[in-house]
C-alpha cells in the first residue's frame, strides 16, 4: 500500500455529463442517506473521466451535501478508484488464488514484455496501463483479465496477443 492521499488537481472545474447526471439522480433515490451515494458517485466519475481528480471529489461532496473529507476518505481507501490518469486501455489482471494457480503470471510477464510496463505503471504513449487486482469473481474461468471493465476469461498468451492486436 502506498500513500494515495496526494490528490491530483486538473485546474478545471469538474461536472457530471448529462448521462452521469441522470444516472446520479436515478441512483440517489435508492438511498435513505445521501452519503451512501459516495461510492456510486465515485464510480460514475471514474466511468466518465477514467480517474478521479481533487476537483471531482469536491464536486461529489458538494453535490451530495457531505464533507469533502468523507469522499476523500472513501476515494483513498478503495484502490479500485484511480486517483491519477490511467491508460486508454486499463488492463486488470486478477491475482487471487484461482487465477494465480492458472498462471496469471504468464499473462503479466507477457504484458510486461509486450507493452513494457510493470503492474501499477502506464505506457509512455498513454495507451495502456496495467494493474494486478484482487478477485474479480470469475474463478471458474480463470485466469481472467479485465480491460476497461470488460471481462476476458480463460486467458492465455495466445488469446491476449490477438486481443492486443485488436486494440492496437
Amino acid at each position: 500500500m502506498s500513500d494515495r492521499s496526494q490528490l491530483i488537481s486538473t485546474g478545471e472545474p469538474f461536472k457530471f455529463d448529462q448521462e452521469r447526471d441522470t444516472e446520479f439522480e436515478r441512483l440517489i433515490k435508492r438511498y435513505p442517506e445521501r452519503e451512501s451515494m459516495i461510492l456510486p458517485a465515485l464510480w460514475l466519475t471514474q466511468e466518465q473521466e477514467g480517474w478521479i481528480s481533487a476537483e471531482a471529489i469536491a464536486y461529489i461532496a458538494d453535490r451530495i451535501g457531505t464533507f469533502a473529507s468523507k469522499v476523500f476518505e472513501c476515494a483513498t481507501f478503495y484502490t479500485m478508484y484511480h486517483l491519477h490518469p490511467m491508460g486508454k486501455y486499463h488492463i486488470c489482471v486478477c491475482r487471487t488464488l484461482s487465477c494465480w494457480l492458472r498462471d496469471k503470471q504468464a499473462i503479466v510477464d507477457y504484458l510486461r514484455d509486450e507493452i513494457g510496463i510493470e503492474p501499477g505503471q502506464k505506457s509512455e504513449d498513454g495507451k495502456f496501463s496495467l494493474e494486478e487486482v484482487e478477485c474479480l469473481g470469475h474463478c471458474g474461468t480463470a485466469p481472467v483479465v479485465q480491460i476497461n471493465g470488460e471481462f476476458h476469461e480463460e486467458m492465455d498468451v495466445e488469446k491476449l496477443t490477438a486481443l492486443l492486436a485488436e486494440l492496437n
Binding site: 492521499s5 481533487a54 461532496a61 464533507f67 469533502a68 473529507s69 468523507k70 481507501f77
Partner: protein
C-alpha cells in the same frame, strides 16, 4: 443522585453509577482502564482496542470497556495475564511506526501513549523493518499543527469536527499503516472551536501553533479559572509558570469540564484571550503621563473628587459581583450616578448556538442583579452634567470611535481604573492599575443565570490591587469581602444565601 450498582473489578466489589460505560463508571472510583479513542464527549468508537477487559461469567470473555455498560454483578478482569498481554500488544502495534520523539514533542508529560507505555508496555522495540514515514508539521488551519507520524488514528479529532462543530474538515485517508489524518486540499480547519482537537488528541499529533515549544507541561502550574471572553463563562484551566527572574506568565487556557456551563470545550477566541492577561498591561499609576506611586494616585484622585463639579462613575460589565457592589457603594458615598453602559460589548450576530455568546461581557447579569443602569442615554446625560468621570475598566472604545470619545471627554477630567494600557485609558488624566480576572477571586453570573466563583490564579511580581480594594481606597465604605457579601445579600434577593465557600465548583443555578 444516580442509581448505584455493585460490580466486581479484579474480584473486589465496587459501587459505581448505573448507566455509564465501564471506562466512566469504574474510572469514577479511581480505577483506570486505558483508552485512546474513547472520549465522553464523542462517545465510544471502539477502534483503539486499548480498553479491552475480561468478563468472567456471562457474555463474551473479552469486551471493549468503552462500549460495555456497567451492569449489576458484572465481574470485570483488569489484571489478568491475558488482559495485560492485550494492552501490551496493542501498544506494541501503536508504537511500530511511532517516531518516539518525546524529547521534542509538546505532548510529552500529558501524553496517553507515553503514560500507557510506561504503565503497560515498557519493552524495547522489536521492529527491524524501516518505519512508515508520513508528513510532519502540517498546517491544518486555525492554528492547529499536525504531525501524521505521531498519530494513533483514534479519530477523536475527526469525530469532533463531524459531531460537535459539524464542519467535518478532517478525515482519515488511506488504509493500513499508511492511514493518516488529513484535510481535503484547500479546505482546512475552519471553525471557531478548532483548537479543541489539540486537547482531544491523546498524543502529540495535534499541537497548537500558539503554544508549541513555549513551555514544557511539567513546569506549568494549573489553576481553575472562568473565561471572561463572553457571557458564557466557560471553565478553564490556566496553565502558568514563573520562570527564573521573570514575571508569572500564562502560557495557555485549556477547557475545564463543567457540564452545566461549557461541557468539555471552549472557543478558540476565549482560549487565546490569555494573551490579554500577559500583554499590554497597565502596571503603574500615571498622572498626566507621569508615573506616580499608588498612594500618590489615590491622594490625587481624592483631590480630583473635591475639585470636581459632579462625578459620574462608569463600571465594566466584566467586573465581579464583589467589585460591582464595592463600586456601587462608592458611588452612593460620593453621591455620583453609576452607569454600566456597555452596549459596545454586545456584538450582534457573533454568537452561535453552541458556546459563543453575542454579549462579550462576563457579568452583565450582575449589573442587572445590582440594579445598575446600563442605558446609553442615562450615561451620556450624567456625563454631560458632570466634570469628572471615574471609569472602572469599561472599554468605551468598543462603542465610540476616537473622535466621539474626544468629544465625550471634552473639558472633563477622567480617572481610569484599569488593568489594560489601551488608547482609551491613555486619554485619561489619571490611571490606576488593577488586577485582571486571573489575578483576583470573585463571582460572576453567566448568561444562563449560573453563579460561578473563581480564585486568584496568578500573582504578578508587582501584583496590582483588586478593583474592590481600589474602590475602598477611594473612599468606598466596603472594606472587606465580608462587608461586600453582606451588602450583596441585601441588594440581590437571589443571593440571599450567598456564601462563596459553599458555591459548588460547577456553579450554582440561580432562580
Amino acid at each position: 443522585m444516580a442509581e448505584m450498582i455493585k460490580l466486581f473489578v479484579n474480584g473486589n466489589e465496587v459501587e459505581v453509577e448505573a448507566g455509564k460505560n465501564l471506562i466512566d463508571a469504574i474510572g469514577a472510583v479511581g480505577i483506570e482502564i486505558p483508552h485512546l479513542c474513547y472520549h465522553p464527549a464523542l462517545g465510544a468508537d471502539g477502534n483503539c482496542r486499548m480498553c479491552l477487559v475480561g468478563l468472567e461469567e456471562g457474555g463474551p470473555p473479552l469486551v471493549p470497556a468503552c462500549k460495555t455498560p456497567a451492569a449489576e454483578g458484572m465481574k470485570v478482569l483488569l489484571d489478568a495475564d491475558h488482559i495485560k498481554k492485550i494492552q501490551h500488544d496493542v501498544l506494541e502495534f501503536q508504537l511500530i511506526n511511532h517516531p518516539v520523539d518525546c524529547p521534542v514533542c509538546d505532548q510529552a508529560g500529558e501524553c496517553s501513549l507515553q503514560d500507557y507505555y510506561m504503565t503497560y508496555d515498557g519493552q524495547k522495540s522489536r521492529m527491524t523493518v524501516p518505519q512508515v514515514t508520513k508528513s510532519k508539521k502540517m498546517d491544518f488551519g486555525c492554528g492547529v499543527v499536525h504531525d501524521q507520524e505521531r498519530c494513533v488514528l483514534c479519530g477523536r479529532c475527526v469525530r469532533f469536527c463531524r459531531q460537535i462543530t459539524r464542519t467535518g474538515e478532517l478525515g482519515i485517508v488511506n488504509r493500513t499503516d499508511t492511514a493518516r489524518v488529513a484535510i481535503f486540499p484547500g479546505r482546512p480547519l475552519d471553525n471557531r472551536y478548532a483548537v479543541n482537537v489539540v486537547d482531544l488528541c491523546p498524543v502529540g499529533a495535534m499541537t497548537s501553533a500558539d503554544f508549541r515549544f513555549k513551555q514544557r507541561v511539567w513546569f506549568m502550574k494549573k489553576e481553575r479559572g472562568v473565561c471572561h471572553g463572553c457571557s458564557r463563562g466557560c471553565n478553564i484551566t490556566i496553565d502558568h509558570n514563573r520562570e527564573k527572574d521573570q514575571d508569572d506568565l500564562i502560557y495557555r487556557f485549556r477547557p475545564l469540564f463543567n457540564e452545566q456551563v461549557n461541557g468539555y470545550f471552549i472557543c478558540d477566541e476565549g482560549r487565546l484571550s490569555y494573551r490579554d492577561e500577559n500583554e499590554n498591561r497597565l502596571t503603574e499609576a500615571r498622572l498626566s503621563k507621569t508615573t506616580i506611586s499608588l498612594d500618590r494616585a489615590v491622594t490625587a484622585s481624592l483631590k480630583e473628587f473635591k475639585r470636581a463639579e459632579g462625578i459620574v462613575i462608569l463600571i465594566s460589565p466584566d467586573c465581579s459581583l464583589e467589585q460591582m457592589v464595592s463600586i456601587k457603594s462608592l458611588a452612593e458615598e460620593l453621591g455620583a450616578p453609576l452607569s454600566g453602559f456597555s452596549d459596545g460589548y454586545i456584538k450582534k450576530g457573533d454568537g452561535d448556538d453552541y458556546l459563543i455568546q453575542d454579549d462579550k461581557a462576563a457579568n452583565r447579569a450582575g449589573l442587572t442583579a445590582l440594579n445598575i443602569d446600563s442605558s446609553q442615554s442615562a450615561f451620556e446625560e450624567a456625563l454631560a452634567k458632570a466634570g469628572l468621570l471615574i471609569n472602572f475598566n469599561n472599554d468605551l472604545s468598543l462603542f465610540y470611535d476616537e473622535s466621539s470619545l474626544k468629544k465625550l471627554f471634552k473639558e472633563k477630567r477622567v480617572i481610569g481604573v484599569t488593568s489594560r494600557d489601551t488608547k482609551l485609558f491613555q486619554m485619561a488624566n489619571l490611571v490606576i492599575p488593577v488586577a485582571s480576572f486571573t489575578e483576583y477571586s470573585g463571582s460572576i453570573i453567566n448568561c444562563d443565570n449560573i453563579l460561578q466563583t473563581f480564585n486568584r490564579a496568578i500573582t504578578k511580581n508587582d501584583a496590582p490591587l483588586d478593583m474592590s480594594e481600589v474602590a475602598a481606597l477611594l473612599g468606598g465604605p466596603l472594606k472587606t469581602n465580608g462587608d461586600r457579601y453582606d451588602k450583596l445579600k441585601k441588594i440581590v434577593v437571589s443571593l440571599n444565601d450567598f456564601n462563596p465557600d459553599t458555591i459548588p465548583a460547577t456553579g450554582l443555578k440561580l432562580t
